[in-house]
Symmetry: C2
Subunit: 209 residues, 2 copies
């Protein structure tokens, strides 16, 4: 497919023969609007293509699936589901520390940090934003963790893991409570890694029989 | 002291001979305004008395100290420092579970839940609100925990504890991620109690030598 398939949106003052970067940006803008209007569950790659006035194949060309489109629309530098998969493919006893390091590592980038804190703030204030964040977390992150872990209560374990992660983000990067805000990432991994491990797999299993 | 010491505020349409309930409410309103304007650190019982146009002794009559005034001004049903003291006076190996039960128990009250989520939302959005919440947390809650625990890194342990608590509040009551949102409090204590214990005291100490 080429950029010729793109029908420029009216009233945006863009040239008719939009380049590839333009179509990608247009799809992202349409996706943001669609997710905000209808929520994570209700949106499909097809409905975003319709909203952006492009062929559905073009959306598939730029974005792997809905999770990919969503994370790029809200500007996440990493796909949570990929992080989860990578981390879970490492040694089982290091899952807690590795997951923590991967997620917190992303927060060293100020732009990402600010967007996630903004997302959390909105989610705490608006029923709709909370539902969207919840649907995304459950469907694209937590459910995958649950499947990968193959423990019967994997979904509860995944939400408990998220609770420690999000709390750490809020206190370290949002409220910036000391001394937590200044502790080096390595020390944080030593402190909180076992907690993530506990939430995900329980300590006895993590430490062996 | 009596309510005669109270100078009614102008323009509120209240009767001149205010009753005791009125003076208390007036002090709380002045305290809210002072905390919002100047932050937690800069406000004193004396400055609130001045703002409310009452004698400082009257403020002391209704409120034990600044922490008491603050928690009542923002509508907290429990004083975090008292909760901490009560919990720490129980068995050392039950500190995690008891602290968790006490704090989460407060969130069963919808009014309190909404106020704390509102406070968090504001803190994530405004530098000033974040500073106020941080100052209150550090000075009135975390510092006390650190002293009571008598561990060298008590302040870091206290902020890590707060990170798990706040994350749990955000996910269970704010975003309401399932299945975490529906898990009975008792099961939550079993799941997260050991984490709080780990953050506060470390597992080895909690489990004995």
């Amino acid at each position: 497919m080429t950029s010729e398939q793109v029908v420029p949106r009216r009233g945006r003052g863009r040239p008719r023969a939009a380049d590839a970067g333009d179509s990608r940006e247009r799809i992202l803008a349409a996706a943001s609007a669609e997710f905000s209007r209808h929520g994570y569950e209700a949106v499909s790659l097809r409905s975003v293509a319709r909203a952006a006035s492009v062929d559905a194949a073009l959306v598939h060309h730029y974005f792997e699936d809905k999770a990919d489109l969503f994370t790029q629309a809200i500007g996440m530098p990493l796909r949570p589901d990929r992080v989860v998969k990578t981390v879970l493919s490492g040694p089982r006893e290091d899952v807690g520390a590795n997951l923590l390091r991967a997620i917190l590592g992303g927060f060293e980038e100020p732009g990402f940090r600010d967007r996630v804190l903004g997302l959390l703030r909105t989610a705490l204030g608006h029923e709709f934003a909370a539902a969207m964040l919840r649907q995304f977390l459950v469907k694209e992150v937590l459910h995958r963790v649950a499947i990968e872990l193959a423990v019967p209560d994997g979904e509860l374990r995944a939400t408990l893991t998220a609770s420690q992660m999000i709390g750490l983000v809020v206190l370290r990067y949002g409220i910036r409570a000391e001394p937590l805000a200044s502790v080096p990432l390595d020390e944080l991994v030593v402190r909180v890694g076992p907690v993530i491990q506990w939430h995900l797999l329980g300590f006895p299993e993590a430490k062996g029989p």
